[in-house]
């Protein structure tokens, strides 16, 4: 761009005054757009340069440099092309375009300047001459990954493509080497004619290839393959260093409007202490292409307003950078917001970054209904609403929260949630009703006593002995396949779905098959013995089972997921696992629980879905999740304390009504979201407001649906409204989507109609000589937790027939009852 050219030169030669003048001039001439002028004209307040230090090893090594300027309001600009770079010792390294290349061993530094700002980057050249042979694992396989050869839609498919198979994303280097060089001798490669063998010709499109031309002959990719062939197409003779971490830079950016760009740079750190620029070998993706798209060369282009995670994958590592796109030139001054506790502080920080103003507080009526439904699964009584609204105390909300936390129903709600996670249900003729009930009762006792969750998990996973006398042993009965148990533990207690890694390295996360099977090894020795009662079983933790890696056939030793090898000699592996799971070494445990609790109160997790934690699905507010998790584990997993924090936050108490800035926000908790009541709560509340009792099979009359012990206990209502069947641990078992059957059932079904009739509230009130208006008011208060507006009463009574006949009156008022139970205001928590 011409402006850049002028500006760059001006800077180097003439100093700041002139440059500013030239910039202005050039803007007037070339860019008459005001917002553009503002954009170009603004001086940055800080300069970020990536990477922050550079190491070069060997003749072929190089490093790209990326620059990012930060404006006073946090908006960032890509200044990679604009920075002026001076290599201090010009005989140690030199710039070759945007790449720094080594000249001789030694240390030096780069001085990088932009708009009066200067950053120094230390450079170490370990060697400038080393030119080792091309490595199959370090150099060739990354080419297959980057160019998509080993992706699932090409040769990475389970059966390969067109007769040639590579392991998906390269999980099996030996196998890939074998298939390339030995499976069909002399066909796929030819070291004598490297330019004219199948590998070269297919990849460069010289012969017909379903995948087309993958790269050209003059590309670096081709040169790597060719050199490998020329050097004899060998497999690495020694163990190659492993990639230990991958860094994507810049780690975050706030882009100013559609079309703004940012270049990315990716480096990998290896186990031998070296680093490498892998920008050209990484594959890029984005979680939201319309906000920030990314080219395969790693250039991010901003689109519409919003946030996106841009990801780079190299080897088994996927890393992300947070991108926010704002409307160009947006003028936003954050309003000072009251803060009830740390939750609000973290939320407001994030909202300021997104230029969003949160909604106002919800009304007392809405609050008391919301919090009663969330904590206890009930709606407030008429009396509670009236007293609460009349109360003028400034701490009435937190007092009410404390009262709710002391109710039994609070325990029932969380016992239900845990029963879903633990799949408590009778199951074919494997798990009897008796087992399910024993297990459920144990869980209820634990949660009533506010037992710290870490203790519960240790008891569960380490459980042994009779499933009758030691109820948590039933954990190993709800699921018996050790691989399934492994997956369930990862999903329930760490929030991770590692299923993919059973057959190949996880395509969207860091988990490899090694990780999967060495984690599964913790459950390899679980065995079951029959007992005298056919329903009873004895769980043993020290059976003779093994976990084998299906590709290598190697027997796997237990290793913590994302952690170290476990020391299990002489110990029950499961206990070792449980202790690690709940220890500080495992960051996922407390975060996962905190997130599950959060999601219960907001309708979505800070990571959403709550059991889909992966690099490519980051938390919308990392500081908030960390702090919640930290507080939770520090408090000794005091569950009530966390619920108290959440419900007392201003964020929880926000109104659903959106303002101009937050209407489209559905993820950052800037206003309350509508949430349909869960099936169990809905049927309980219908019974509550109609003054009737539910009857579920095997439970006493009047028992609540949230108290159902056995996941097989159900009825049409619960099924239709999407209760969890507890068939898997997945959070997706609970369904809240509306459907036609639900509407039909509320309109015509017996649940609503029979309960209105048998509760006979309207009849009773008429007998007490209450007037029509009064009855309508009581119905509103009872069902919706608010008084009707005058207009509402008028509009409803306008539909009434003028009659003194009590029976007819009752019919009309019961129609109002029906309408209230069918209303969206009733079906949703808001």
């Amino acid at each position: 761009m011409i402006t850049d050219f002028v500006r760059g030169n001006a800077r180097t030669n003439c100093g700041r005054f002139l440059s500013a003048a030239l910039v202005l001039l050039s803007c007037v001439v070339w860019l008459p757009d005001d917002s553009m002028a503002a954009r170009q004209g603004e001086d940055p307040v800080s300069l970020n340069v990536f990477p922050q230090s550079i190491q070069l090893h060997g003749k072929r090594d190089f490093q790209k440099i990326v620059g990012q300027a930060v404006r006073h309001n946090g908006v960032t600009d890509d200044v990679t092309d604009k920075v002026q770079i001076v290599v201090h010792d010009q005989d140690i390294a030199k710039l070759d375009g945007t790449r720094l290349v080594p000249l001789r061993a030694g240390q030096t530094k780069l001085r990088i300047r932009h708009a009066e700002l200067e950053v120094t980057v230390p450079v170490t050249v370990a060697s400038a001459e080393d030119d080792p042979p091309v490595s199959f694992q370090l150099d060739v396989m990354p080419v297959f990954s980057r160019t998509g050869c080993n992706s699932g839609s090409c040769h990475g498919a389970a059966r390969g493509k067109d007769g040639f198979r590579l392991s998906l994303f390269g999980y099996d280097p030996d196998g890939d080497y074998f298939r390339l060089t030995r499976e069909m001798l002399g066909r796929r490669i030819d070291v004598a004619t490297p330019d004219d063998c199948m590998l070269s010709n297919k990849a460069t499109g010289k012969v017909a290839h379903s995948g087309g031309t993958v790269f050209s002959r003059d590309s670096d990719y081709y040169q790597t393959l060719k050199r490998w062939l020329v050097e004899g197409a060998e497999f690495d003779k020694k163990e190659v260093p492993e990639v230990q971490s991958v860094t994507l830079m810049p780690p975050s950016a706030i882009l100013d409007g559609d079309g703004a760009t940012q270049r990315l740079c990716v480096t990998a750190s290896y186990s031998d202490g070296t680093t490498r620029d892998v920008t050209d070998l990484a594959s890029f993706s984005t979680t939201n292409g319309s906000v920030a798209s990314v080219s395969k060369d790693g250039i991010v282009v901003a689109g519409q307003r919003g946030e996106a995670l841009v990801m780079a994958r190299f080897g088994t590592h996927t890393v992300g950078a947070e991108f926010v796109t704002l409307p160009r030139g947006l003028d936003f001054v954050p309003e000072p917001m009251p803060v009830n506790n740390f939750i609000d502080a973290r939320i407001n920080e994030k909202l300021n970054k997104l230029r969003i103003t949160p909604s106002g507080l919800c009304s007392d009526e809405v609050f008391i209904r919301r919090v009663s439904l969330d904590i206890c699964g009930v709606v407030p009584t008429e009396e509670e609403v009236e007293n609460f609204v009349a109360d003028e105390g400034s701490d009435k909300r937190s007092k009410f929260i404390d009262r709710l936390l002391e109710q039994d129903a609070f325990v029932s709600i969380w016992v239900m949630k845990w029963s879903q996670l633990l799949q408590i249900r009778s199951y074919k003729n494997i798990v009897s009703q008796k087992n399910a009930l024993i297990y459920h009762r144990w869980l209820k006792e634990k949660i009533s006593a506010n037992t710290p969750v870490d203790k519960i998990v240790v008891e569960l996973l380490g459980a042994r002995g009779s499933t009758f006398t030691n109820p948590p042993a039933n954990f190993y009965e709800m699921e018996r396949d050790p691989l399934k148990i492994t997956e369930n533990v990862a999903q329930s207690f760490m929030g991770m779905r590692i299923q993919c890694a059973q057959c190949h390295n996880h395509p969207f996360d860091r988990w490899t098959m090694e990780d999967y099977y060495s984690f599964a090894a913790f459950f390899a020795k679980v065995a079951r013995k029959p007992a005298s009662d056919p329903r009873e079983r004895i769980i043993v933790g020290s059976g003779g089972g093994k976990t084998k890696h299906p590709v290598s056939g190697k027997v796997m030793e237990p290793k913590f997921l994302g952690g170290a090898m476990a020391e299990v000699k002489g110990k029950d592996r499961r206990v070792v696992l449980a202790e690690w799971l709940t220890s500080k070494d495992n960051p996922y445990f407390s975060r996962n629980l905190a997130n599950i609790v959060w999601a219960h109160f907001f309708g979505r997790g800070i990571i959403d879905e709550v059991d889909d934690v992966r690099v490519s699905n980051p938390p919308v507010n990392e500081p908030l999740l960390s702090e919640l998790a930290e507080k939770f584990s520090e408090s000794g997993y005091d569950f009530k304390a966390m619920v108290r924090d959440i419900c007392n936050s201003r964020t929880y108490q926000l109104s659903t009504e959106a303002n101009e800035t937050n209407a489209s926000d559905l993820t950052n908790f800037s206003h309350a979201y509508l949430r349909r009541l869960p099936a169990e709560v809905l049927i309980d509340v219908i019974a509550q407001v109609t003054d009737t009792r539910n009857k579920f099979p095997g439970l006493p009359l009047g028992a609540r649906a949230i108290e159902i012990a056995n996941g097989n206990t159900t009825n049409y209502f619960l099924e239709t409204f999407g209760r969890s069947k507890r068939e898997s641990v997945c959070s997706c078992e609970v369904k809240k989507e509306p459907n036609l059957s639900q509407a039909l059932h509320l309109i015509n079904g017996k649940t609503v109609e029979q309960k209105i009739r048998s509760g006979n509230l309207v009849g009773k009130w008429l007998k007490e000589k209450l007037g029509e208006e009064e009855i309508i008011q009581r119905l509103y208060l009872r069902i919706l937790g608010r008084m009707p507006e005058v207009a509402e009463i008028e509009n409803i009574t306008a539909l009434f027939e003028d009659t003194e006949d009590q029976k007819q009156k009752k019919t009309m008022l019961e129609d109002v009852f029906w309408a209230l139970l069918n209303s969206s205001e009733f079906l949703f928590n808001h």
Binding site: S290, C500, E737, L740
Partner: protein, 437 residues
């Protein structure tokens, strides 16, 4: 042809307004901002095609192609399997011996013997056949029924997409589309003696006048909430209430679900069993206006004793399916009703040690009939041992695109997924002209 000029019409239609809402509670200003972005969204108008409705018969578990529509009578015994083959009324074409009645309507069908995909796990294979897509961990794709529901909406007061008896799997849902496009489950097995679709009738004691008043009262209550709240889930609830009202108020629509209104002789002919009752109900529904009926029958995952399994499953399927084709033909409905029979995959070429066959997605068979599909042909073939497609492999994408094209939907059209992400109905499928009349 792609027609982006139609974009605004497209977005402003009432049905699509809902879809837009589905992206995430958009305000009007956001909505208009989106319109400018939609120039890039590939748009084609959907117009009813040769197939006015689809009956999608899904046989879960993976029916063996060797024992059904692609027998290999000359293969060695371990490939051939336990059954003999029989002649059909299509010269030279043979079926497994259990499909006696289907063999007599073969001249009405296109028998695809070269279906192929790469997913050997049930849920992944089912995902393919329900959505036309390979599963993705990043996106939930809508089922074909939901896409049809999205493109055309209801007809004659009936839900556009009906599931018999229930949603057979999670992929039969609306995926990334608003849940308003999910199917309506009849909720009970039509083969049950007291089969009745629940809650279609007003509750006893509620007259239609009284019901009309109730609706007005409900409007008053909802108005208050509606003025304050905006959300996709609210829209979806409203949509379903409106659908429910039209279903309840139309006697004709309600009767479509009532098998008692059917001639007992015809019910016998279909068979008074699961296969017969489900297919008969499907016919009643498409006859009355339902656009897409998905029904499942049986369990076909015959890893063990495939002979027993097939003997148990096939006869009632065979009777019901052949009757369905004849019945549609007699009523003149076959030309406008596409009947599709498929499993998630076929079964392995060799009979295994348990006298069963294992999963095999590499090649398997499907049946297509009516609604613009050519009558009386075999499309594609498998090799001598039924292990690989020998000629004209038909991918899931092409198969789905062809079905959509019969319905009048160009599958290259992009629908909006969350995050304003346009996604093709089918990615890269082609219409397979050889399948069409």
């Amino acid at each position: 042809m792609s027609n982006s000029a139609k974009c605004s019409d497209h977005l402003l239609s009432r049905r699509n307004l809902l879809t837009v809402g589905a992206i995430g509670g958009l305000t009007l200003s956001n909505f208009f901002r989106m319109q400018s972005a939609c120039a890039e969204q590939k748009f084609y108008e959907s117009k009813e095609g040769s197939a006015k409705s689809v009956i999608f018969i899904f046989l879960p578990g993976g029916m063996a192609h060797q024992e059904s529509f692609d027998p290999k009578p000359w293969a060695p015994l371990e490939y051939r399997g336990p059954f003999k083959s029989i002649e059909t009324n299509l010269g030279g074409v043979r079926f497994g011996e259990l499909f006696k009645k289907t063999a007599k309507v073969a001249d009405q069908l296109t028998i695809v013997r070269s279906m192929t995909h790469g997913e050997a796990a049930h849920e992944r294979g089912v995902h393919n056949m329900m959505t036309g897509y390979r599963p993705s961990p990043a996106l939930q794709f809508p089922s074909m029924g939901s896409v049809v529901s999205h493109e055309f909406g209801p007809r004659n007061n009936l839900p556009p997409y009906v599931l018999i008896p229930n949603e057979p799997n999670e992929f039969a849902g609306a995926g990334y589309l608003s849940s308003s496009f999910s199917g309506f489950s009849v909720g009970a097995d039509p083969a049950d003696k007291n089969f009745r679709v629940r809650d279609l009738q007003l509750f006893e004691g509620v007259t239609s006048e009284r019901f009309a008043k109730r609706r007005k009262m409900l409007e008053v209550v909802n108005d208050h909430f509606r003025q304050r709240e905006q959300s996709d889930s609210l829209d979806a609830v409203d949509t379903f209430y409106n659908r429910a009202y039209s279903l309840i108020s139309s006697q004709k629509a309600r009767e479509a679900f009532d098998l008692e209104k059917e001639d007992p002789k015809l019910r016998d002919k279909y068979g008074r069993n699961q296969a017969g009752a489900r297919m008969l109900l499907a016919r009643r529904l498409v006859e009355s206006g339902v656009r897409f009926v998905t029904l499942t029958y049986g369990g076909w995952d015959h890893h063990d004793k495939i002979q027993d399994g097939m003997n148990k499953m096939v006869p009632s399927f065979d009777q019901a399916y052949a009757t369905l084709i004849e019945d549609l033909k007699e009523r003149g409905l076959l030309d406008e009703t596409l009947v599709c029979v498929t499993s998630e995959f076929g079964r392995s070429p060799k009979v295994n040690a348990n006298a069963g066959r294992d999963h095999w997605p590499k090649v398997f068979s499907s049946l297509l009939a009516g609604g613009g599909i050519k009558a009386g042909q075999v499309y594609g073939s498998s090799d001598a041992t039924a292990s690989e497609p020998a000629d004209n492999p038909l991918t899931v994408q092409d198969w789905a695109t062809t079905i959509y094209s019969c319905l009048g939907i160009n599958a290259d059209k992009e629908l909006m997924a969350p995050g304003a992400r346009p996604v093709e109905i089918v990615d890269g499928g082609r219409v397979c002209k050889e399948l069409l009349v």
